[in-house]
Chain length 347, copies 2
C-alpha cells in the first residue's frame, strides 16, 4: 500500500487547488507578466500554504537582470562597485538595476515589489546592515543573493565578498616604519565595523614587526568622515610628542587629516606623512596625491556579479566568504623622516 503521509506537493496539485491550469502556476513561479493579479495572489498563497519546493534547479532561461542594492548612493564606494558589477553583468548580456533603499523599510518593500514584477534573476546587496527578514523574503521569491561588504559586517548565510583589511592595515604601517617613522598616529573608523577592527589590528601588527610600542594616545577614533579626520589630526598634532606620520582608516579621513595639517600651518608630506585606505579618485586627485591602500572595489563588484549569475544557473557556491587582496599604492603623501628638517624653511 502507498502511504499518503507526504502527498508530494507538485505544481499540478497547486493548480487543482487554485482551479487553474498547470502552466499558470508555472508562470506565477517564474514571475511572468501574463497572470491576472488576483490569480497570482491566490496561487502564491497556496504555494506558501502547501510549502511548495522547486524540483530541479531554476528554469534554464538565461538571466536578464540583476539587482544591485545600496543603502545610500552617496557613499564614495558606490560608483566603483557599480562599475565592477555593470561590467561583468554587461559582458554576460545582463542588465544592472541600481537601487538605494536609505535604510527605510518602505523603500525596501517598494523595491521588492518592483523586483518581483520584473522577475529579477539575482541580487547583490552592498547594504550590510540589512533588515534580516528581507533575506527570507528574497528566499521565498527564489532569487539568489550575494553580499558585497567593504564595511565588514559579520556574514549572513549568503556568499559574501570582502577585502583583506588586516593585511592592508599592516602594509600601510610597514610602509611608514620603512620610511623611518617611529611615532605613527592612527585615525580609526567606526569601532563596531569589523573592517575598522581589522585595520587597527593590522596597524598594531605593523608596529610590532618594527619593534615599536603601541601607544594608545596615538589612536584617535573617527567616523569615516572628512571632518573627523581633520579633528583627529588637530588632536594628534597637539600632543606633547606629536606623530610624524598618520595612517587613516579610510581616504575621506585621510583627506581630513590633510586639512587638519594645513590648518596647523604644516605641510604634507614635509611635516607629516599621510596614508589612507580605499584608493578612491578623491585621493588620486588630492594635493599631494595620496599614498593609500587600494581596495579592489570594482573587482569585488565584478566577482559578486559573476557569482550571482552562477547561482542563477543553479550552481551552488562553496565558500561562504571571499576576500580579495588589498595592495599599497605609494604616491606623494609619504616621505622619509630624515628629510623633514631640510624641507622646512625656517628654524
Amino acid at each position: 500500500m502507498s502511504d499518503d503521509q507526504s502527498p508530494a506537493v507538485t505544481i499540478a496539485s497547486i493548480a487543482a487547488a487554485a482551479g487553474v491550469s498547470v502552466p499558470t502556476v508555472s508562470r506565477v513561479l517564474n514571475g511572468r507578466s501574463d497572470v491576472a493579479p488576483q490569480t497570482r495572489q491566490r496561487v502564491e498563497q497556496l504555494l506558501r500554504d502547501h510549502g511548495y519546493q522547486r524540483r530541479g534547479g531554476r528554469p534554464r532561461g538565461r538571466a536578464r537582470l540583476v539587482d544591485l542594492v545600496f543603502n545610500d548612493l552617496d557613499s564614495p564606494w558606490a560608483v566603483e562597485i557599480i562599475r565592477g558589477v555593470e561590467d561583468a553583468a554587461h559582458a554576460a548580456g545582463v542588465g544592472t538595476v541600481v537601487t538605494a533603499i536609505h535604510r527605510r523599510a518602505s523603500a525596501a518593500r517598494a523595491w521588492l515589489d518592483n523586483l518581483a514584477a520584473r522577475a529579477s534573476d539575482g541580487v547583490i546587496l552592498v547594504t550590510s546592515d540589512l533588515d534580516p527578514d528581507l533575506h527570507s523574503e528574497l528566499r521565498s521569491l527564489h532569487v539568489p543573493a550575494v553580499v558585497v561588504d567593504p564595511a565588514g559586517v559579520p556574514a549572513l548565510d549568503v556568499p559574501t565578498i570582502g577585502a583583506t583589511n588586516w593585511a592592508g592595515g599592516l602594509s600601510a604601517t610597514e610602509h611608514l616604519t620603512g620610511l623611518g617613522h617611529r611615532r605613527i598616529g592612527f585615525v580609526a573608523g567606526i569601532p563596531t565595523l569589523w573592517s575598522s577592527r581589522a585595520r587597527l589590528d593590522g596597524y598594531r601588527a605593523g608596529l610590532e614587526t618594527a619593534g615599536l610600542p603601541f601607544d594608545p594616545e596615538l589612536v584617535v577614533e573617527g567616523d569615516f568622515g572628512y571632518e573627523s579626520g581633520a579633528r583627529a589630526a588637530h588632536r594628534l598634532l597637539g600632543l606633547a610628542e606629536p606623530p610624524t606620520a598618520v595612517f587613516a582608516a579610510n581616504d575621506q579621513m585621510a583627506l581630513g587629516v590633510y586639512e587638519g595639517v594645513r590648518r596647523s600651518g604644516m605641510r604634507v608630506p614635509d611635516d607629516v606623512s599621510v596614508v589612507g585606505f580605499d584608493d578612491l579618485p578623491e585621493g588620486r586627485w588630492s594635493s599631494p596625491p595620496l599614498t593609500t591602500v587600494h581596495q579592489p572595489l570594482a573587482e569585488m563588484g565584478g566577482l559578486a556579479a559573476r557569482t550571482v549569475l552562477r547561482m542563477v544557473d543553479g550552481e551552488t557556491i562553496e565558500s561562504p566568504r571571499l576576500e580579495l587582496s588589498t595592495r599599497l599604492v605609494v604616491r606623494d603623501s609619504t616621505a622619509p623622516t630624515q628629510l623633514r628638517p631640510v624641507s622646512r624653511v625656517g628654524s
Copy 2:
C-alpha cells in the same frame, strides 16, 4: 470607391504576413517573453518593412523600468546623476537600469537587445556623443528618450537637460573680481564642447563687467583632466606677470591647479585663489575646500527621470532644451588680494 493606396498597416496584416496570430504580434510589440526568438525576429522584420505605426498611445500599464546609459562610469558626474535618477524613479515605483557602453557599437547593440527583451519603458542618455542611428533604433522600439547633457553637445531632437554654463562662468569670475583680483587665469576645457565655450564666454563677460581687459595669455587650454590643470597652473605661474587667481572650467582641473601651485612652492589661497566648476565631492574634501560653481547634477537626473516617465504616460514634452541654474559655492580656496603680502612668511 475606396482608394487602396494606403492599405492601413495593422497588427492583423502583419500577423497574416508572418503566419502567426494577432496576439503574438502584440506580444512582440510589447516585449513580452513568451514568443520564440525566431518568431520574434520575423515579426520585428515585418513590422519594420511595412512601417507599422502604433494607433493610440502606448499600453496603459505603469512603467516598471527606465534605462540610464553612460559612455563611461568613471566620469566623476556619474554617481550624482545616478542618485538623481534613481531617487525620482524609485519614488514612482520604477527601477533604474544602469549601463555603460564605452563608445563601442557592440556594447550598444548588446544593451539594446537586453532592453528590448525586458521591455524597458524609457531611456535617459548621459552619453552625449552618441551613435546617431541608436536614436532611430530606439524610436523603432517606441521607447521614449531624454538626454542629460552636462557636457553641452548640440541638442538632438529629443528633450535635453543641461545647466547654465555661461551664468556659472560669469558668477565665478565676478566672485574673483569682487575679491580684488585683477589678473585672473582661466583653464579652459575641450574647446569642441559647448559647455567649455559657454564657461569661457562667461569668464570674459565677468572680466568686462569689472572693466578688466581680456588677456589671451591668461587662458590656457586643458582637457578637463587633473594633469592638464597642473600643467596649466605651471604655465600661468611662470608668466612675467602671473595671475593672482585661477578659474578652472571643472573641478578636476581646479584640483590639478592646486597641485601645480603646490609644486611651485606656493599655497592656495594665500598665493593663488582657485575656483572650480561642478562641485563634486572631490572638491568638498580637498584641502583647502574648493570654491566652485555648483552644477545640480542630481536635480538634472531627477528631472530627466520625471520627464521620461511623463513621456511613457503619453505626454508630449514642449520645450526641447531645459537648463537648470548653477550657483557659486564659496569655500576656502579663494581670498582677497589684499591679504596676500601679509600671509607670506618671507620677502
